[in-house]
């Protein structure tokens, strides 16, 4: 993975982590048994997967993503991934893109409103 792709994926990690954080807050507000925990867990797992695509040498720290709408953050993550998930890109990136695209759909359905 080249440096530019790595930086992009690091940005995706930050976006996903921020989106997960927001959905967990909403889930906590709902109280016990909130269905939003499914989406929140899904975003967490996507962030984990993105993190594991990066070598240790790549710093994950960076500017905190702006925005407070999980669906928008997920959409941004999807767009970034579309830029780097070229035909020659590793399978992991394509798998991650598919996962994030599904999450965008879930976030735009009623569960995360």
């Amino acid at each position: 993975m080249d440096a530019e792709t790595s930086e992009t994926v690091a940005g995706v990690v930050r976006l996903l982590r921020r989106a997960a954080e927001l959905v967990w807050v909403a889930s906590d507000t709902d109280g016990a048994g909130s269905p939003r925990q499914l989406l929140a867990l899904g975003i967490d797992l996507a962030a984990d997967e993105a993190r594991n695509l990066l070598p240790d040498a790549i710093p994950i720290d960076g500017p905190a993503p702006v925005g407070a709408v999980p669906a928008a953050l997920l959409r941004s993550a999807e767009q970034l991934l579309q830029c780097v998930a070229t035909r020659e890109a590793a399978d992991g990136l394509h798998g991650l893109l598919a996962r994030v695209a599904n999450l965008v759909w879930e976030a735009n359905s009623g569960v995360s409103d």
């Binding site: 906590d28 016990a32 048994g33 909130s34 269905p35 925990q37 499914l38 929140a40 867990l41 899904g42 967490d44 797992l45 984990d48 997967e49 993190r51 594991n52 240790d56 710093p59 994950i60 720290d61 359905s109 009623g110 569960v111």
Partner: protein, 490 residues
């Protein structure tokens, strides 16, 4: 292994079963610690023998009941080796003998060449017989150990009372902590026993249980995903986990608790479960879910941007999430009770989820052990300094004097937000949260106790007649037919 030992595999297994029964008869308090220490070796030998036997045709891949039992046995073994109760000491002769017999049986099977799938009904019946006998041995031995532990706790309480009354020196009295730890071990053996019972009493697919082969795919997916998840969670936690792993474990367990609640309510609505049971169970499941979520949040404080989650754990968690989403959600949230009833066999799915809940008690103990033992726990100074101070103030209010006037981070550490070793009060906070998960999940298990995992009872009504393996019938220990498979009479 004696060179003159000419017993066959069947004879060795029969001897194991007999020894397990003797264990139950001799389950005295003084044997309990040794039995706990021997447990992992016994389960390991059983798992190795099980692995040499071919699977019964029609069984579902990825849902091997022995996998669950093996990881629980390993967790108990690791806990004892790490110095937790009962710590180091002698092992139990009976259980060791059973383990040796099982190893001998495995050698015999291996020497004859790994057997292929049974091709005749007789060969299949014998295979089922071996598997049932092996599982029954574990079931009875686990029950015997739980009985011995119960006697041990009673003895400790008696001595504690007498010591207090006679004002004996503290060193001559057992401690209340030992009572708590031994009780915790009883809960773990109860869980093990129930997992083995679920296999023995009708949750396995066999040729004599064709109903299982036509169970809807979503249920099989969920059952397999839960079994794989439990095994993977144990494996990840056993290998120097990152705090991020603990966060995922807790979040997935919380989701499973929520799903259990949703499906159980649907089963009650559809008349499969008594309303009284659900009234007791629902709050306990909510409390368990909340406790797992609190645990997740606290462990999340120990993560940092570079934290990584075990890829195998991510994969197992993803499958649990997907299986739950397929069964229990629609586009607006949780599926309606009608939708749930149309998608899965509610009684069977509820039994499967409750079995997972039983297993989660032991997983919570492993999380607790991790909080106690993990040598590499570090955390950002700012958040963990505040957390340690908060926990210390709580402890001081309860009479702890060691924390008075202590500061947990240096100004430099705080300014730079350095990663620092976890201060003791913060670690104590993690342990307390694990205790809270254990307590709430145990309450849920107790509330669900009437939801028999084997057959219809007054609390769980199923349209499907439960299967009891033919081979098991011949060895069933005396027990009233109406009782849940909690174990032979104590």
């Amino acid at each position: 292994m004696s060179p003159t030992d000419r017993r066959t595999v069947g004879e060795l297994l029969a001897d194991c079963d007999a020894l397990a029964r003797e264990t139950l008869l001799d389950a005295t308090f003084d044997r309990a610690p040794a039995m706990v220490r021997s447990w992992n070796q016994l389960v390991g030998s059983a798992a190795e023998l099980w692995a040499t036997l071919p699977s019964v045709p029609g069984s579902r891949s990825g849902s091997d009941p022995m996998d669950r039992l093996r990881v629980v046995g390993e967790a108990i073994g690791r806990s004892a080796r790490a110095g937790h109760w009962p710590g180091w000491g002698p092992t139990d002769e009976h259980l060791t003998q059973i383990g040796d017999n099982l190893s001998r049986a495995r050698h015999l099977v291996e020497r004859q060449g790994r057997p292929s799938q049974p091709k005749t009904p007789e060969a299949q019946a014998q295979l089922e017989e071996f598997q049932s006998q092996l599982m029954h041995t574990l079931y009875v031995a686990a029950h015997g150990t739980a009985v011995a532990l119960g006697a041990y706790v009673t003895d400790l309480q008696d001595r504690l009372q007498i010591g207090t009354r006679r004002r004996l020196p503290l060193v001559e009295r057992p401690t209340a902590l030992e009572v708590i730890l031994a009780r915790g071990m009883i809960a773990r053996f109860d869980g093990f026993e129930q997992l083995a019972a679920a296999y023995l009493f009708g949750m396995r697919p066999t040729s004599g249980n064709p109903d299982w082969t036509s169970v809807a795919a979503p249920f099989i997916r969920l059952e397999t995903a839960l079994a794989v998840w439990e095994v993977q969670a144990y494996r990840t936690l056993a290998n120097g986990p990152d705090p991020a792993d603990l966060v995922r474990v807790a979040r997935v367990q919380a989701l499973i608790a929520s799903t259990t609640s949703i499906l159980t309510e649907a089963a009650a609505t559809k008349g499969h479960i008594d309303g009284e049971v659900i009234r007791r169970l629902a709050p306990a499941l909510d409390a368990s879910q909340a406790a797992w979520n609190r645990t997740a949040k606290r462990w999340a404080e120990l993560t940092n941007p570079a934290s990584r989650t075990d890829p195998s754990l991510i994969s197992a968690a993803s499958e649990v999430r997907a299986a739950i989403a397929a069964i229990a959600t629609n586009q607006t949230g949780w599926a309606t009770h009608d939708q749930l009833a149309a998608r899965v066999d509610l009684p069977k799915t509820v039994k499967c989820l409750h079995l997972s809940m039983i297993a989660s008690v032991d997983l919570a103990y492993v999380v607790r052990d991790t909080a106690v033992d993990h040598p590499g726990l570090i955390a950002p100074a700012r958040i963990i300094g505040m957390r340690a101070q908060g926990e210390a103030e709580l402890a001081i209010e309860q009479g702890e004097t060691r924390y008075e006037g202590v500061t947990w981070t240096t100004p430099h550490q705080t300014a730079a937000n350095q990663l620092i070793p976890l201060p003791e009060p913060a670690r104590r906070g993690l342990i307390n949260l694990a205790d809270s998960v254990i307590a709430s999940t145990n309450r849920a298990v107790a509330a669900a106790a009437q939801l028999d995992t084997s057959k219809p009872t007054r609390s769980m009504r199923s349209d499907h007649a439960p299967h009891r393996g033919r081979s098991y019938e011949s060895r069933e220990m005396t027990r009233p037919q109406s009782q849940a498979p909690k174990g032979p009479s104590r």
